[in-house]
């Protein structure tokens, strides 16, 4: 009688394909480490010996890495640029994004909801270089005309653009978070005679809070990492801003603006890669925090 189990040769193709699948499965992990490794590899030349000081890199506001006499490589002003643009954009995008999410999920009739979600998806699909272009050609003269500022490429411009770019992310992820609240919560609230708004305010918002916070954090991470729009729309002066009409330069825009002119392997070039690592650390922190919020919640509710 033939054994039921097939021989190793019959199963060879299957074993091979499983190997390939497993390899692809770990590809994401490999790539994350690969990104850290290769970006760090280019920056590594700075660290041993030399006069590179981490404290100067993190906490000094002077950024002039190409200078021959005494290169300054403090990124605090760039971080301030990123932070100011991001904060302004979040101040606009959080109320509008979450408001849209609540309206979509709780106050909308289904057919209209589907249409609006498609429109939001379209808003999310517009490439960032187009937003930058809009900032340059449309918002720039508009801001000059309205506020009387000498130049319209500033925090206000970049913040508005980033807000428009983050609203769809926050709105669609926020809607997902609200939808994930079990319907029994809604039914219980309505049965007790709550109005829709009371239901939202007293029941759904607390229940969906981790998910909503995660949506905000992901929008925040996206805004911090956004490159082309801020490169084109926030101007190019490296300093700690004092008003929303100041021009600033963000971490991302600095890399994009200077990478082309830094010669390969120079100190300047290595510094830009180090800024990349810095940026990666910031956005990873936001993403991991968002993920932790969502997963931690899911586990505890089981």
């Amino acid at each position: 009688m033939k054994p039921l189990r097939r021989s190793i040769f019959d199963r060879l193709p299957e074993i091979l394909i499983e190997g390939v699948i497993r390899l692809c499965g770990v590809s994401a992990i490999l790539l994350v480490f690969g990104i850290f490794f290769f970006v760090f590899r280019e920056a590594y030349g700075l660290l041993p010996g030399g006069d590179f000081r981490l404290g100067h890199f993190l906490f000094d506001t002077h950024w002039n890495p190409a200078s021959q006499s005494g290169p300054a490589y403090g990124t605090l002003a760039l971080l301030a640029g990123t932070a100011s643009v991001t904060l302004l954009s979040m101040a606009i995008a959080i109320p509008f994004g979450l408001g849209s999410a609540i309206y979509l999920s709780e106050f909308c009739v289904p057919y209209r909801r589907e249409t609006l979600k498609v429109v939001i998806e379209i808003l999310a699909a517009i490439p960032s270089v187009v937003w930058g272009f809009i900032g340059l050609m449309v918002m720039n003269p508009l801001i000059i005309a309205v506020t009387g500022a000498p130049i319209g490429l500033n925090i206000l411009n970049g913040g508005l653009l980033l807000a428009l770019m983050s609203i769809p992310i926050i709105a669609s992820l926020g809607e997902d978070a609200l939808k994930a609240v079990p319907d029994s919560y809604r039914e219980a609230g309505l049965a007790l005679g709550a109005s829709r708004w009371q239901l939202v305010y007293r029941v759904l918002l607390p229940a969906a809070r981790p998910g909503l916070l995660a949506a905000v954090l992901l929008g925040l991470g996206r805004a911090v990492g956004e490159t082309m729009a801020v490169l084109m729309a926030t101007g190019h002066s490296v300093h700690v801003p004092t008003s929303v009409l100041d021009s600033v330069r963000t971490l991302t825009a600095t890399i994009a603006a200077e990478l082309g002119e830094a010669s390969v392997g120079s100190h300047h070039y290595q510094l830009l890669f180090l800024v990349g690592i810095y940026l990666l650390a910031i956005t990873s922190a936001f993403n991991l925090a968002a993920d932790f919020l969502v997963r931690g919640r899911r586990r505890s509710s089981r």
Partner: protein, 306 residues
């Protein structure tokens, strides 16, 4: 005069107490306020799109798409950029799709839920959040310098592929999850192995969803600028208009998104309408592909019969 005994349907049957009236007012205010936030988020989109098309109208024509730029990018069309984008998207698609789909298959069909699969999905999430400029640095370090591809379509499209991998993994996982578990169980009960089940049952049923995700990725990749800017894009490349096979994989190329960036920031004395026209073509490309994906999804959802 109303009849006294039969109240009209509109008169409330219960007297509104002040508390109920207040609640009702709050409800109306909240609904209007929230609706306003949504409308205010969407209005700028349409205003801007209409404005772009309006400004670009003088230049837009068929010739604009299939001619080469002339006169130091100040006139002529954008064929090399359009073709370059096509090459970049095609090559990155070819690289990212198999790896992304198989990674999702691993996550959904093979991996046992546990610490390791959690680590993989964490990596996917992290990969999705890497800023595009850091991808550019990675592409420069890994593909241009380390692998020795130089600045080329190959290096740029591999960078784009890494960038779009998490998108494909996420959408494919979604598609695989939507295949009912009973399909798999039926297949296993007939003696099929895990791969046979995946190959003949799960993948065919998930194919439409996978396809939707891939189209969505095309629309994202076509608009990416920063990663391409430093790994393979070039300011100008002379190519005969309408020539489909002008680039090789190791050439540098023009790309639509980079073209918009350079024309609007680095070319002096450009006519007003030209950058608007480039922007309109780019947006139309991205939104057209996106619309295709949405239409496909709606059609498939309506056809699904389990």
């Amino acid at each position: 005069m109303k009849p006294a005994l039969a109240p009209s349907p509109t008169t409330p049957r219960f007297r509104e107490t002040p508390a109920i009236a207040r609640r009702h007012r709050q409800e109306v205010i909240a609904r209007r306020l929230l609706g306003t936030t949504l409308i205010l988020s969407l209005v700028p989109l349409f205003a801007i799109l209409i404005y772009l098309v309006w400004q670009a109208a003088p230049v837009l024509s068929w010739g604009f798409l299939v001619e080469s730029p002339r006169d130091g990018m100040r006139s002529g069309g954008l064929w090399p950029a359009l073709l370059g984008t096509l090459y970049l998207v095609g090559a990155s698609l070819a690289a990212a799709t198999p790896v992304g789909v198989l990674a999702a298959v691993y996550l959904n069909e093979y991996a046992r839920p546990g610490r390791f699969s959690r680590l993989v999905s964490l990596a996917v999430i992290n990969l999705a959040g890497v800023p595009s400029i850091v991808h550019a640095l990675f592409g420069l370090g890994a593909f241009v310098a380390f692998a020795g591809f130089g600045r080329s379509i190959l290096a740029a499209s591999l960078t784009l592929a890494v960038m779009s991998l998490p998108v494909i993994i996420a959408s494919t996982t979604e598609a695989l999850k939507s295949v009912p578990q009973s399909f798999r169980e039926a297949s296993w009960n007939l003696g099929a192995t895990r791969w046979q089940t995946t190959r003949h049952i799960v993948l065919p049923n998930a194919l439409p969803g996978i396809f939707t995700g891939i189209i969505l990725m095309v629309s994202r990749t076509a608009g990416e600028t920063a990663p391409v800017l430093f790994t393979g894009a070039v300011f100008y490349k002379s190519i005969a208009g309408g020539d489909l096979f002008a680039y090789s994989l190791l050439d540098q190329c023009m790309a639509l998104s980079v073209h918009l960036f350079t024309v609007s920031t680095q070319v002096p004395n450009v006519s007003d309408a030209l950058p608007y026209a480039i922007a309109v073509v780019l947006v139309a490309t991205v939104l057209g592909v996106n619309a295709l994906s949405i239409a496909l999804r709606v059609y498939l959802r309506s056809r699904k019969n389990w």
